[in-house]
Assembly symmetry: C2
Homo-oligomer: 274 residues x 2
């Protein structure tokens, strides 16, 4: 039994996203848990998930998890807000290993500040329409003012690397103005792409609005859960990162490097079971 | 034999796209060939195609054609520039029915004006990087100046219905300025979404720049080809339109109505063979 648990502890973590945005979560996990091996799957052939229906997202997420489970991961992080919003409960029900999403950690990080009362959420249309954040926040604290804003153009703008373009400011202004007018004190960046927009968001938001992102909060939650379940990797050293994408192209590789802020090593093309 | 040809003539046309943009082609076909029944497939579950690799697009397009062939269409229009650019030759080789793309008709329409010498092309990155338009133009006429400009943010902006938004103008200015500086006399709108941008493009371009779009030129080419192959529907009346999408949502239905400029009727959810 001890031997079995030991080998489970040294198994890789599985992390998946619709594309390469989830690599912001990978980077945060690497910083906090450097010894862990990570198997990453990005479903670049079918991205984005954020504009598609709940049924389709559940089907895609199920295939993503199947790919990782088959490769012997010890736990899975759904590093995609839309997939967490629509598929996490059904995945947790179907599979017999720990599966963590990005929403609970984000919500806990928002409410870690007792003064947080007026919460803005920016995310894909799928995440906003699921009301997953709104529901999780309202469950934990009464009397919050919660404003969800679908921001579907941000992922395309980030993927174009137009982080500083006047059009990006214009788009952000259109999205943020209604939130600022409502006097938000906290902005939840509820998409794993959005940490790359932190500098321009900081510039556009009033100085007293606090930003919370999915990546670092998710890594901290993962650390706690692995410790609680006695699944932390026992050895020191630096774990390896194994990247799998369902579609490979130079553009996806360049984006992956940008999200990861390091070399990606060889990227494998993943074929998912139907 | 006459009976067989007769029944083939009354079979529906198959038209497919990565999403609902190809409905601009459907509308043009309905105007020109009102008696034809149309079976439309939009691969909304996996859209967009424009940012994905040639191999993946060929695989998706093959599955799309398989779906239509199985349902007995008499000819197929690839109403997607990216799929035409990467997959048309392999599809024509594999399948035993007429398959038409949007590129040849567009190129012929551009060169129908003998004064066209400096051609700008706006399209997805996949279409531009394929050099399909550049090649087809250069094959037909020597001495052309051809400038391809990838415009990957236009589809997301159109799908948000931000046709008049200042950010759309800003994005278009960034994309068009280099073409205008090069003194283009013709702009090829090489994506079936782009006809919806005609008014703002007209506003932003010098008055003497001629615009050519994929939808109307493709419908005219289809008309000629069906006549040549003796495949035109023999009866008058108004054909029916049968819409199939691989992912269904209210947002896709609303977009479909917008592209079609009419009611869509019931939309079916399509399941493609692997």
């Amino acid at each position: 039994m001890v031997g079995t648990i030991g080998s489970v502890r040294s198994a890789p973590l599985g992390i998946f996203d619709s594309g390469v945005g989830g690599l912001t979560v990978v980077r945060a996990v690497q910083e906090l848990l450097p010894a862990e091996d990570i198997l990453y799957l990005g479903d670049t052939a079918r991205l984005p998930y954020g504009s598609k229906s709940p049924e389709t997202i559940r089907q895609f997420a199920d295939q993503d998890v199947g790919f990782l489970v088959k490769r012997g991961v010890k736990a899975i992080v759904v590093a995609c807000n839309t997939a967490t919003a629509h598929a996490l409960p059904s995945l947790q029900e179907k599979y017999d290993l720990p599966i963590l999403g990005v929403i609970e950690p984000g919500v806990e990080a928002v409410l870690a500040n007792p003064d947080a009362e007026r919460i803005g959420i920016i995310a894909t249309r799928g995440t906003i329409d699921s009301h997953a954040y709104q529901h999780a926040l309202a469950l934990r604290k009464t009397g919050l003012m919660i404003h969800g804003q679908a921001t579907p153009l941000l992922v395309p703008l980030i993927e174009e690397n137009w982080m500083d373009h006047p059009a990006t400011r214009q788009v952000l202004k259109t999205y943020l103005d209604p939130l600022v007018e409502k006097g938000i004190d906290t902005l939840m960046l509820a998409c794993t792409h959005y940490p790359l927009l932190m500098p321009i968001l900081r510039d556009l938001l009033p100085a007293d609005v606090r930003m919370v992102d999915s990546a670092t909060t998710c890594a901290e939650h993962l650390n706690q859960e692995l410790a609680r379940l006695d699944l932390l990797h026992e050895l020191g050293g630096v774990g390896k990162l194994d990247l799998h994408l369902t579609d490979l192209s130079d553009a996806f590789e360049a984006l992956a490097r940008q999200f990861l802020k390091q070399s990606t090593g060889r990227i494998h093309r993943a074929v998912l079971d139907a």
